[in-house]
């Protein structure tokens, strides 16, 4: 018996060792140009507004293509990356996936992590996308994903709260700072920033510094663009927001309901927190918990000289096809439906932002659906000289480091100089490792 266990253990070690060295080469099932009867899986994350719209779109697909059944898999953002990456790792990824921009860097650094969509052009019409939009989804010259919408984080305010406090939406950073004092009299905060998965605290601080210095936090190829002094400036800015009652401290925020998201918290629903920084493509979940028409988009903040640079855009969500799909033609046809079909576009509306597909955007325009918070915010953003966010800035480890620095400063465990030094060193080292 002892021998048997030894043999099994040795076999285990050999199998594990044999997979070391060299990259795996997953096999493509080549497209055959026909649509066969099958069942494919489609996964996405989002809020209830997106879930409802997408499920309605799936019903429409089923009417048009009864032979291809699409099984939905959906949920909230928290934990979604972990779920999908373990599916990809285990070879059980859905055929079509909504993916985040940074997943291209972490899950497909050599372009072999997802299906090359240019091989599926028989089913997927890519001619309705700008070259620049398509370039967001390319890794190592392979089209791994198609951008659903290009969006940036914008400021959205609870109009009732602002009316109650007798103030208007801020247009500059100094106006934002002044609002803290004015609104605290009524027990309200002008804005909320988080250090959870959204990481909006660091995001706004980065915008502030980018506007001031003209330097990008992380470049597109993964180089740290900020100096240690820039990082300190960002942390000082954040600290001032807390001290001037513009936002709640990290502790006040956590005390309310622990790890819960802002749109589920009583403070946001009762209006005592009057603003949120959110992607135009995801703001629907905040809009849904307030009375209709209460949430409004506000201007992008400038400095006192009128400089509005530094705000950022990125492909807010993308669609990709699993590398190991058994049904590449069918997956591509379904993706084409989601991206380009005029009827589907009308059903989905702006639940994933303003469509990057010109065909879908045209369909929304014709249906009069090109309106709402996402549209207003995107329109304002398009007037600015926005920079494209580096996917490296979105990496979970980088976000974690930045959030941790903010938390230390907020709790008074580090001064901004010390926290800036640590953050500068750790981000620089990490980027050096991953952007090799």
């Amino acid at each position: 018996m002892k021998k048997l266990f030894l043999y099994l253990a040795a076999l285990g070690c050999m199998t594990a060792l044999s997979s070391c060295g060299g990259r795996s080469s997953p096999k493509y099932i080549s497209p055959d140009g026909t649509l066969d009867k099958c069942t494919i899986r489609f996964s996405w994350w989002g809020g209830d507004d997106r879930h409802e719209a997408t499920l309605a779109a799936l019903e429409l697909w089923q009417q048009k293509h009864p032979e291809i059944t699409v099984t939905p898999e959906y949920g909230g953002w928290d934990g979604w990356t972990e779920k999908v990456s373990s599916q990809i790792s285990g070879g059980t990824a859905p055929d079509v996936m909504q993916i985040n921009y940074d997943w291209l860097v972490s899950l497909s650094p050599d372009g072999n992590g997802f299906y090359d969509l240019e091989l599926l052009s028989d089913q997927l019409d890519l001619s309705v996308f700008d070259d620049e939009v398509l370039s967001f989804g390319r890794m190592n010259n392979k089209l791994n994903a198609v951008t659903v919408s290009v969006s940036g984080r914008g400021l959205f305010y609870n109009s009732d709260t602002y009316k109650k406090c007798g103030v208007s939406y801020p247009g500059t950073w100094s106006q934002l700072m002044e609002l803290g004092d004015k609104m605290s009299v009524k027990g309200c905060y002008p804005l909320d920033l988080d250090i959870q998965s959204g990481g909006t605290a660091w995001y706004l601080a980065v915008v502030y510094v980018q506007q001031d210095t003209g330097r990008q936090f992380v470049s597109m190829d993964g180089e740290l663009g900020f100096t240690e002094e820039d990082i300190r400036m960002a942390l000082d800015f954040y600290k001032e927001l807390e001290e001037r009652h513009v936002i709640r401290t990290v502790r006040e925020r956590i005390d309310e309901d622990g790890n819960a998201a802002l749109y589920q918290s009583p403070s946001f629903m009762d209006g005592s927190v009057g603003g949120v920084l959110e992607w135009g493509s995801s703001v629907g979940k905040y809009d849904m918990v307030l009375p209709e028409g209460v949430l409004e988009s506000g201007p992008f903040l400038k400095n006192d000289d009128g400089n509005s640079d530094g705000w950022m855009i990125k492909p807010s969500v993308m669609y990709a096809v699993s590398k190991g799909t058994q049904y590449p033609d069918e997956a591509a046809a379904f993706m084409d439906f989601l991206l380009n079909d005029p009827e589907c576009a009308a059903v989905l509306g702006t639940s994933r932002g303003i469509p990057a597909s010109q065909q879908a955007e045209e369909a929304l325009k014709k249906s009069g659906l090109l309106s709402g918070l996402a549209y207003d915010s995107d329109e304002m953003l398009s007037d600015l000289d926005a920079v494209t966010i580096s996917p490296y800035m979105e990496l979970p480890r980088v976000k974690e480091m930045c959030n941790s620095a903010i938390e230390k400063v907020s709790y008074g465990k580090s001064d901004t100089a010390q926290a800036a030094k640590e953050l500068y060193t750790s981000v620089k080292e990490y980027l050096k490792k991953v952007a090799k």
Partner: protein, 297 residues
């Protein structure tokens, strides 16, 4: 034709026993032994969980030793274990003593006490727990009623840990059942004899009950220590490991490294370090208990 005799009445062959336990052996080899061995090998690689691993020797282990995050997670896990386990053993023993009484409807009481363990920390329970401790939640209201100041449960590291400890403490049922079974095995004659000799309840508890429960206490101690060291789901769902990593356990570190940061090689190395840590802790418990038993003899 098999040679049938008194010792082998149905003609069992030399390998029949092995054949009968083969389903277990295959399952054990595939789902325990293989991952166990593979985990050690993967701990020696740079592996993102997606692409093939690359051998890097003991780099993950040296990174781990120099990592303040790893040391922090070990500290949090040990602190959590040292707080929870004694509390849980005490509460479950007290509950078992209560439920050992011969009163009408005792079965109902036992079921009620065991109920939280059946519910476990599923999502509904965790959400309920989360709401209990929110600002203005039920616990806050109760403390206000008795004139105590409102506590920011989630924002402070110690109280955040207390929330997790209380959730697990609430699930004392399995430890209680083991104690209850052991209590029922103690012959009532011992207590009757003690009573005749003028021994009170408290003295009987320390002189009869506790010494005779020693083995079960040790069993519970080991089981609860291992379970506490493996804590993941409660802090993951309730506090997210915060604030300031004060509830960030080794389980959460392994999960984050594996699934959030795609650092599977390092996650496997940490898993092995964790395995060694738990083993050492259990061996210490064994040694201390054996010494105590020898002293008692």
């Amino acid at each position: 034709m098999k040679n049938l005799n008194y010792r082998n009445p149905v003609g069992v062959g030399k390998y029949t026993g092995l054949l009968l336990i083969m389903p277990f052996i295959i399952g054990f080899a595939l789902f325990t032994l293989y991952p166990f061995a593979a985990s050690l090998i993967l701990g020696l690689t740079d592996y993102d969980g997606i692409y093939s691993p690359e051998f890097i020797g003991t780099e993950n282990f040296s990174d781990m030793i120099s990592s303040s995050e790893f040391r922090g997670a070990v500290g949090v896990t040990l602190k959590y274990t040292f707080i929870l386990v004694p509390l849980k053993l005490t509460v479950s023993l007290l509950a078992a003593l209560l439920l050992n009484a011969e009163i009408k409807g005792i079965g109902v009481y036992r079921t009620i006490f065991y109920l939280p363990s059946i519910l476990g920390s599923n999502l509904a329970v965790v959400i309920m727990w989360q709401f209990l401790f929110t600002s203005g939640g039920l616990v806050d209201q109760l403390t206000e009623t008795v004139g105590l100041p409102s506590v920011g449960w989630y924002g402070d590291g110690n109280s955040a840990m207390l929330i997790i400890v209380l959730l697990r403490l609430w699930e004392f049922g399995s430890a209680m059942i083991l104690f209850l079974n052991a209590l029922r095995d103690i012959p009532s004659e011992y207590y009757e004899a003690a009573r005749v000799d003028g021994c009170g309840h408290i003295r009987s508890f320390f002189r009869i009950t506790l010494p005779l429960l020693r083995r079960v206490i040790f069993l519970n101690l080991v089981l609860q220590t291992i379970a506490a060291m493996q804590e993941f789901s409660a802090p993951y769902m309730i506090t997210g490991g915060g604030p300031m990593k004060s509830t960030y356990t080794i389980g959460m570190l392994i999960y984050d490294e594996m699934f959030r940061f795609h650092n599977a090689g390092y996650a496997n190395a940490v898993s092995w370090a964790f395995f060694v840590l738990v083993t050492v802790l259990v061996l210490i418990l064994f040694a201390v208990t054996r010494k105590k038993t020898e002293e008692d003899i």
